[in-house]
Subunit: 288 residues, 2 copies
């Protein structure tokens, strides 16, 4: 259990130095790192397809950590967590909720990126008492445009070799966006010690099934979006090729209390291209 003692130690650490800890959740060890402000409702980061804790941008996590406790973690089977990754978003959401409760929290802020945003919506709708505020980045609702075409998106992203996949998936084709992508990759390598483990091919296959099925599912009346009553900040780049940017507009139109922020000249990883503005939006959203 995350004791009061652990929490008081958060402030000593940053994205770069926070030790990787582990907690048993229903039979599997979930790895996590906590750092930042000692007091306040923590911000739980829900990661994208294939990503582990090292895939978060330190410029974002540290900026939010200067105002709130920040908790990065690997869901069941992801990165250095063990256990078997479920093949659907609903079970991933339940795992994340169990992890949050195992840490001893009964109220958190959630920041979900892409697949993490699918999970975040489900948690906010189905475990409303647990969620204070929700941040949805580069994501969409059940059956959202272009989500089910994951394989086609990945094929296009791999054409320049494995080193360029993240840039192809997360950034636009303009020189300014590509440059921002390269700076983002640099930041991801800033943490030198105690790096996370890569996500296994089995987990990636299970996540892919979950994403494709989420994209193929339907929720014609947007009942899940309408069930979200917490304040929501929705953000994305304007040319998201993985989860079409129009999905952000649609979420805004169906969530009761939401603010939408989209940036030009950017894609799925708009929050990393505009890391400063994004962090400022998050801090202001959580404060007000």
């Amino acid at each position: 259990m995350e004791t009061k003692e652990n929490i008081l130690a958060l402030g000593e650490f940053t994205h770069k130095t926070a030790p990787t800890k582990s907690i048993n959740v229903n039979g599997a060890d979930f790895t996590y790192r906590s750092f930042g402000k000692k007091e306040g409702i923590p911000v739980i980061f829900l990661q994208h397809f294939t990503g582990n804790m090292d895939n978060w941008d330190p410029e974002v996590t540290n900026a939010i950590a200067s105002n709130y406790p920040v908790i990065l973690f690997n869901n069941r089977g992801v990165g250095s967590s063990n256990g078997t990754t479920p093949e659907n978003v609903t079970e991933m959401a339940k795992d994340a909720v169990d992890f949050i409760r195992a840490l001893g929290y009964n109220k958190v802020n959630i920041l979900g990126f892409s697949l993490g945003g699918f999970i975040g919506q489900e948690i906010a709708a189905n475990y409303p008492e647990l969620v204070n505020k929700l941040i949805l980045a580069g994501t969409g609702s059940i059956g959202g445009k272009a989500i089910a075409q994951l394989e086609s998106h990945l094929e296009k992203a791999f054409v320049d070799g494995p080193d360029r996949v993240l840039i192809n998936l997360f950034f636009s084709k303009t020189p300014s966006s590509i440059k921002a992508g390269e700076a983002f990759l640099e930041r991801l390598s800033e943490r030198k010690i105690d790096r996370d483990s890569p996500t296994s091919q089995d987990t990636i296959a299970s996540q892919a099934k979950a994403i494709i099925n989420y994209g193929l599912a339907t929720d014609e009346n947007n009942t899940q979006l309408k069930a979200i009553k917490q304040p929501v900040l929705i953000v994305n780049g304007n040319q998201d090729n993985m989860v079409d940017s129009i999905n952000s507009y649609i979420m805004l139109q169906n969530i009761q209390n939401a603010k939408l922020v989209l940036w030009s000249d950017s894609g799925h990883g708009g929050i990393f291209q505009y890391s400063k503005d994004f962090s400022q939006e998050v801090n202001s959203f959580l404060l007000n």
Copy 2:
């Protein structure tokens, strides 16, 4: 001419106290008020259909004035300005440019709301050297969705009598949005002395023609939006019944360097419903 002496006096005044001044622009007297910060690139406010200087929300103008010089004015024939209001956006833009230059400025920030946003786009595209940054609120581009249906929008707005027109046009039908609308009307009446004159029926008719023709015009390749190279902040409510909110999304997709902010539970006057968040967005946008 706005002399250095006048500019140094800005800081003494607020929305409520700034005296109405007048300057001759190509044969007509344009009325204006300036207040706020003494130094920096001023923010020129371009007003909506029928509106005069008293239609600006003091919560917005004062918040921006705490960081920048603010200039409210009536374009040709509007409110207490004299002259004949032109029947097209292009001439309105030229009048606004001539007014700005008559004040002695060669670089300004522009905040255009609705019709003011049509004018703002034209100025940024056609007088690029004059515009530092552009804020587009509750507006759309040439031929934008629902703009030409002005008469139908007005008919619906008048059903509850003249006192409710602004609330019907600017706010959503939810209790929270209507309440925000009533608070906005209260704020509009805060200035007690030296009130502006109502806009004449002739001017309103000319403005209506300009709006409808702007909505009927086409710019299929979005050449005007693509000609805007300055940083642009685009904002609106999510349910704008006058200038459909999707127009904001379309502007984002065609302006090179833009950020879009939309708020839920709000309409055409989203910037007044979320006056604090809007002012914070503007100040942050102008600063960075």
